[in-house]
Amino acid sequence: MSDYASIIDQADDYVEPEILPLPLDAWHRAHGARMVEFAGYDMPIQYEGIMAEHAWTRDSAGLFDVSHMGQLVFSGEGVAHALETVLPGDIAGLGEGKMRYSLLLAQDGGILDDLMATRLPDDQPSPFSAQDVEPEAYDPLHPLPTASGSFYVVVNGATKYDDISYLIEHLPDDVTINILEDQALLAVQGPKAVEAVARIVAGVDGLVFMTAGAFHWNDVPLWISRSGYTGEDGVEISLPAEHAVAFADALLALAEIKPIGLGARDSLRLEAGLPLYGHDLDPEITPVMADLGFALSKRRREAADFPGAERILTQREHGPATKRVGLIVEGRQPAREGAEVIDDTGAPIGRLTSGGFAPTLGKPIAMAYVPLALSTPGTRIEIAQRGKVHTATVTAMPFIPHRYVRAGAK
């Protein structure tokens, strides 16, 4: 454990001293982005404006730089079983090139992060360029990934170093974790995203929702999944950071695609009903409280073999005390994160964890944790914010329908 402690210290030190630039930092600025600090990086909050960028993504296709997110490859003997000791999903049952949304769980069942896990194809070279990271820190964990029996996992940027510390502590020594620090990650999202990308990346339109594969653009290796976090069809593309600028230029040359900032990414995911870690999810929240029961795979529920299983399965059976719901807020004024849900006497009984103006709906929406008795769609609740009381109605999410292209629907 002492070795691990020193690794963890170095991982923590790595992010703290400064705000890091993304591989596309200069590219964003050249395209008129306003930059803000987010998750330890300078990131584009907006280019031409959040409303216009939001609408463009819903109507056409937006390019999002999500290179701040953690891209990890897990490999080694028993890796699927090892991952199942910290995730409640059926990881062992994932086919090659198939992916699953899952949750990194603390030992008490609280959510440490949400993530996407993909089983990489067996018996093929790694889809990621050979690289190793922070050799001083990661030498003890030895070699480069072998593709066979490996998983590619994308975690949140703000939590990636904490995740790695936790995983090093809880996964067996047989499992190797490689951090793909030199891979950029670009998302292209929107109804025209796949048709546009397919013009420069042959075959990408052969993917269906939640599948992934290796592709090429010129001679650059791309690992592409048909997935995203906007509620729209689209792809997420991992590629060597050194080629990110040229590839982003090639994407932007497609008439359907414009660059989109973090501001619209947030309003898009909110309309899609997708929780944001650190806001709608945190270590105090379990998957059942978060209404993410779908992430608890049947086999895993029956085996009750994930962290916090007893607590989580009891909540699943009897209902959690509080639950994440969607809200449509009356009037035009947004109710935002931190506003309190109050009862008839004005006492706080819940809290908004996200909230803002929904550009597609043209009205304010929010996510909140409320007592189970108030979580049924149609229930009217009151929100206190800066001395004013707002009325809202609990609403099923997503607020606007997802438009994923699933297997069998093509």
């Binding site: 404006g49 959040i50 216009a52 947004p334 103006f357 550009p359």
Partner: protein, 123 residues
């Protein structure tokens, strides 16, 4: 008529003892898309620096402070119907409220257009 600015990016046009208050072009560009404005009602008494109005963009909520003391004559009803006027015409049609100044000497502490332009330049 003279126009004055505050360091919080409000402007006030003064004509006799009537002031018209709004937020600057720079402020609207920083806020981004405005989706809601709450303006004060006629008759409300404001002291210089009081929270007088609220402007909400997609990103965030901001208070608008009264640049001077006085009594509100009217809020801009047009903003209730179309808050995007704050983005499209911040320093004219996107005004927030008009008030009768109770102490015109307060204007001496505000910036003129040139001083405000220099202030924004330094941000």
């Amino acid at each position: 008529m003279s126009r004055y600015f505050t360091q919080d990016h409000e402007w006030v046009d003064v004509d006799g003892d009537i002031g018209t208050v709004g937020i600057s072009e720079y402020a609207q560009s920083q806020l981004g898309d405005v989706v809601f404005v709450d303006v004060p009602e006629a008759g409300k008494t404001l002291s210089k620096g009081d929270e007088a109005a609220v402007v909400e963009s997609v990103k965030a909520a901001s208070d608008v402070y009264s640049p001077v003391s006085g009594t509100v004559n009217e809020g801009n009803a047009a903003l209730t119907d179309d808050s995007s006027l704050v983005n499209s015409d911040a320093e004219a049609a996107g005004w927030f409220f008009k008030l009768t100044l109770s102490d015109p000497s307060e204007l001496d502490s505000l910036m003129d257009e040139a001083a405000y332009a220099a202030f924004v330049e330094g941000l």
